[in-house]
Subunit: 206 residues, 2 copies
DNA sequence: CCTACCGATCGGTAGG
DNA sequence: CCTACCGATCGGTAGG
């Protein structure tokens, strides 16, 4: 009674169902980023898309299932953006810069579901985690090849696992401090990072 | 009935109360790190120190109050370790290395409350946050002075806010991937980091 | 610090 | 996708 709803003829086509599912993922992603997975209730998510509290379970079998879907959605968007960002870009340093900007935009600007991956890794059950890792590996493989090229070009000393994780860490941590209305743009940060990490005489040392 | 308790004479001295409080902080910190703040219940914490579920509220006025206390405790331990780590160490690079190792140990090894600060920043209310920031600033000030010296020595290009945050990010993110039984020691990571960040001919560029 | 408890809320389900 | 609801659990409190 208290809720106004459009009472159109129920034509539950597959396309409609897909749309509602996508809406739920988007709403859940936004809430997971803002409040965290545990602090977000199914009721919050249902409210955000104008459903009743029991209805999301028609689309997802559990809250955990929503989390997994949100993360995979975010990763797929990131993969698409990543491909677009480096398409046609030549040279290790240029590709590095392009990857950084794309990554930061995905994390900080695009209101995608990607940050959920960074925040809520712990909330994933082992089963869900395995599924997510499969997609994540594809995203990281592109970085690895660029880092390898940087070493070959003498701009980076090392592209081993630790170095890679330190690099990702610096970028991923930006979620914690970046503010859209702050004094630095995403491009500022990217340039600072390129400057911080690339060292022209890398081979000359030690 | 189901719980065995020592029924000694109740001598609630201030020292005892302080001990119980400290025990609660330690137990809460451990649980917050393992399961997250939201997923940890007062009952979990009470269980861990052998109390009943209502009793922690004798020592803390709310769960939020516990969170704040845990973070401040962690920061104070970090400050002490930091002072010890750089005491008597001369030279910008050596001090940098010492700070990194101390920081990583505090985060990864010492089972302190510090990581709660990294994980649960969002869970802090604004009031609590202000109190925590005051202590955090003291910890970061030491880093700032060392970074400034590195720039002066020509080993780092820049020590501005963004560079600083990228640096911290890389270290703080290690909580997400470091495993004590993994292939890298904390010292390995520290050495990789020094290598990654310091660039001898810093002034020669641009 | 325990006992006993409250009001609120949560994830999820049955049945339509 | 809604209605109506359940069992469980949670943070917190009164009174001792």
């Amino acid at each position: 009674m208290a809720v106004a709803r459009t009472k159109t003829k129920a034509r539950a086509s597959t396309a409609d169902e897909g749309n509602r599912r996508a809406e739920l993922i988007r709403a859940a992603g936004k809430l997971f980023v803002e409040k965290g997975f545990d602090a977000t209730t199914i009721r919050d998510i249902a409210d955000a898309v104008g459903m009743r509290s029991g209805s999301p379970f028609y689309h997802f079998k559990s809250k955990q299932d929503m989390l997994k879907s949100v993360m995979i959605e975010g990763l797929q968007a990131a993969l698409t953006a990543q491909q677009a960002a480096i398409a046609g870009v030549r040279g290790a340093e240029a590709r590095f810069r392009a990857l950084i900007k794309s990554h930061l935009r995905i994390i900080l600007e695009d209101h995608t579901e990607f940050p959920v991956l960074l925040y809520e890794w712990r909330a994933l059950t082992d089963d869900s985690r395995a599924e997510v890792i499969a997609v994540k590996d594809r995203y990281e493989a592109v970085w690895q090849s660029v880092l390898k090229d940087l070493v070959k070009a003498g701009l980076l000393k090392d592209d081993g696992r630790v170095t890679r994780l330190l690099l990702f860490g610096a970028f991923n941590w930006t979620v914690q401090w970046y503010r859209p209305d702050g004094e630095f743009t995403i491009d500022d940060i990217a340039e600072r990072a390129v400057d911080l990490y690339l060292c022209p005489q890398a081979e000359g040392r030690r």
